[in-house]
Point group: C2
Chain length 177, copies 2
């Protein structure tokens, strides 16, 4: 039986972490604990490791974005839906700012692994629609496309946001000839 205060604490920690990390990706665990109004022990009971906490915040964000796919496909042609969805993804990543970079290399890999399934699913859905109507080449691979988005959100944090131009180049590579 989970005590109600325990359930509340978990939610409070996640909310505090989401806010604090968006502002500064290197916010310390103890700072997050204080902000959430819980002791360090409680923090670590819920998230045994700093990376576990970062991952949980990251995961919630990914889920939100993935959920947007179906309505985009209802409103736009596949390539256009892909363009908009990818720009949304990049914008969200940019807003999250420090989060991606705060993850160490191992945790970053773990984040990719966990989000891999849902995100690949999202991209595949769009690709399939494009292959069905002949606008996207048949050998286009969702996995490759996903990898490239990491370059896009790095480009998006530069002073001159190159992401849109780079994305167009990518989409050109996907278009059926």
């Amino acid at each position: 039986m989970v005590r109600s205060d325990a359930r509340e604490n978990r939610a409070r920690i996640l909310a505090a972490a989401r806010e604090a990390l968006a502002a500064d990706g290197s916010t310390s665990m103890n700072q997050i604990g204080q902000r959430a109004g819980v002791g360090a022990g409680t923090l670590y009971r819920n998230f045994p490791t700093r990376d576990d906490l970062l991952l949980a915040v990251y995961e919630a964000e990914v889920e939100r974005i993935v959920a947007a796919v179906p309505s985009l496909l209802d409103l736009h042609a596949p390539l256009e839906a892909l363009r908009r969805w990818t720009l949304d993804l990049v914008a969200a990543m940019r807003a999250k700012h420090g989060l991606g970079d705060a993850l160490g290399s191992v945790a970053h890999q773990a984040a990719n692994d966990r989000s891999h399934g849902p995100v690949i699913q999202a991209i595949s859905t769009i690709f399939e629609a494009g292959k069905a109507d002949g606008s996207i080449r048949r050998d286009a691979d969702p996995g490759d496309f996903l990898q490239f988005t990491s370059a896009l959100w790095r480009a998006a944090s530069a002073p001159d946001d190159r992401a849109p131009g780079m994305l167009d180049l990518l989409l050109d590579g996907l278009r059926a000839r």
Copy 2:
């Protein structure tokens, strides 16, 4: 006047850092100092910040790679030279392993800024050769290409190295029609 022991110390620190960081990107400053046989103060006199040290190691590596361009262009057609050069770049980054991920977001940006000039120069040289002989489209942008390489070396550290296939997709996008 720079004392000879001071000059030696700087070199010893850089060497120790290069070796230690290749093995483990999170090696601590004090560990590097001990390995180099210098006190913490000496370490910080030469590199006022952990990121300064990481950056110096990173920079040396980039210089080595950039220097390889002319001979590649002597031996291969532009697109093939670009393919080989990029795979070399990715392999070197992979060997450096933790280094790229150990840099915080700010330092990572600084690293990109500093290496940007020389690396863009290298890519531009190859692009110009390709535009001259008609194998590379005229609107191809070296800056965009550079951004994509970051996605490649992330892909290269996955169990199934997707970098070669992804690179071929990219080169397809650059080819003149």
